[in-house]
Symmetry: C2
Subunit: 188 residues, 2 copies
DNA sequence: TTCATTATTTGATCTAGGTCAAATGAAAGT
DNA sequence: ACTTTCATTTGACCTAGATCAAATAATGAA
């Protein structure tokens, strides 16, 4: 998934606008398992995932990791709250596979917002998209069985479901590894 | 909670800007139990709750209502996804107490966005706030016991917790009425 | 390839919280 | 005040999924 294409899907930028915007992104190649943000740090960048998979997670008092979100190819990845408010992150952000990311700082977003009026629309649409996705997951978690939540995962993130460790998915779906393993066994 | 005060908290508007913005809102007095939006309709307005409490919910296949969100005094209320994308709402939106609301259409927001550059910032901040709140609830639901989820509710929405029917809160927290009733009994 | 480490599966319990059903209490209309 | 309707509580019981523990399987480093 190409960043330029994605941006055009959101807002009909001209060729020049698009180049102006893309120029503020930095291409980064990140090796597997690298942490981009730790809990308590401020998340300085918004990332676009061109290749690879990212995830955000937190660690419960009992030491267990809970996956909060997966970021597949074509997604914007960040510790959203921390990034937009430049406040301490409640989450870790990591890359699960060797990844190619395009990153942009909040300062650069602000520059672009000042420079291109259409940028505001872009940011607004992106945050509303994120909101919609989170609400969808919320609904899946709120009143569905473990099995139904897994089905939701498969339909929403078919690719991710088979590329990341089972335990990550289980905690993302609010169930234990063992339960997810048993669900998988009885599939199809 | 006053709308003007809230807007000023988000963005340092001048007196004139503030008046220009407020002029695009319509004051509405809505009686208890009125439905603002039905499932399948397009949510045409964003509401600010000055007085009263609203909630959004959906109805499961088995006919049971699931509360998706509460909107207390000082909150912006809408079927967010439907409103911003002017798409069909997955939710019902209703008022649980006689309410005083200030509403604005998406067209009017667009007018304001075109007129005041600071408006973009306002909308962005409001949507990010919503996002943060939804993410918080998601975390509460994902790996907490019924009791912990109730505690979260009390701390996040102390006023609402004692003003709306128990069943609404129970489904909001992803548990049955009976369970919530028992939790309440053992409080304090 | 071998060994060490980490991930997944499987089995045997156990329990939080769901379901069903009935009793009690609170509101709202006449 | 009386009745109907709706909300909450309480009790008895039951399951989805957690926990604990051990056996395989997969991955990676040397």
């Amino acid at each position: 998934m190409d960043l330029a294409d994605l941006l055009k899907e959101y807002v009909p930028f001209t060729h020049d606008e698009l180049n102006g915007i893309l120029a503020h992104f930095t291409k980064e190649s990140i090796p597997k398992n690298e942490l981009l943000v730790r809990e308590g740090q401020i998340c300085r960048k918004l990332y676009f995932v061109e290749k690879g998979i990212g995830r955000s997670y937190y660690i419960k008092e009992d030491g267990k990791e809970v996956t909060q979100w997966f970021f597949g190819e074509g997604a914007f990845m960040s510790s959203v709250d921390s990034f937009f408010n430049q406040s301490q992150s409640h989450y870790y952000l990591e890359v699960l596979e060797d990844a190619v990311l395009y990153s942009i700082s909040l300062d650069n977003i602000d520059l672009l917002l000042a420079q291109y009026h259409k940028m505001e629309r872009l940011v607004r649409l992106i945050t509303i998209d994120m909101l919609t996705k989170v609400v969808n997951k919320l609904n899946a978690l709120q009143f569905q069985t473990a099995r139904e939540r897994y089905d939701y995962m498969i339909s929403e993130y078919p690719d991710i479901s088979y590329r990341v460790p089972l335990g990550h998915i289980a905690s993302y779906l609010g169930m234990t590894q063992e339960t997810l393993s048993r669900i998988r066994k009885n599939e199809g």
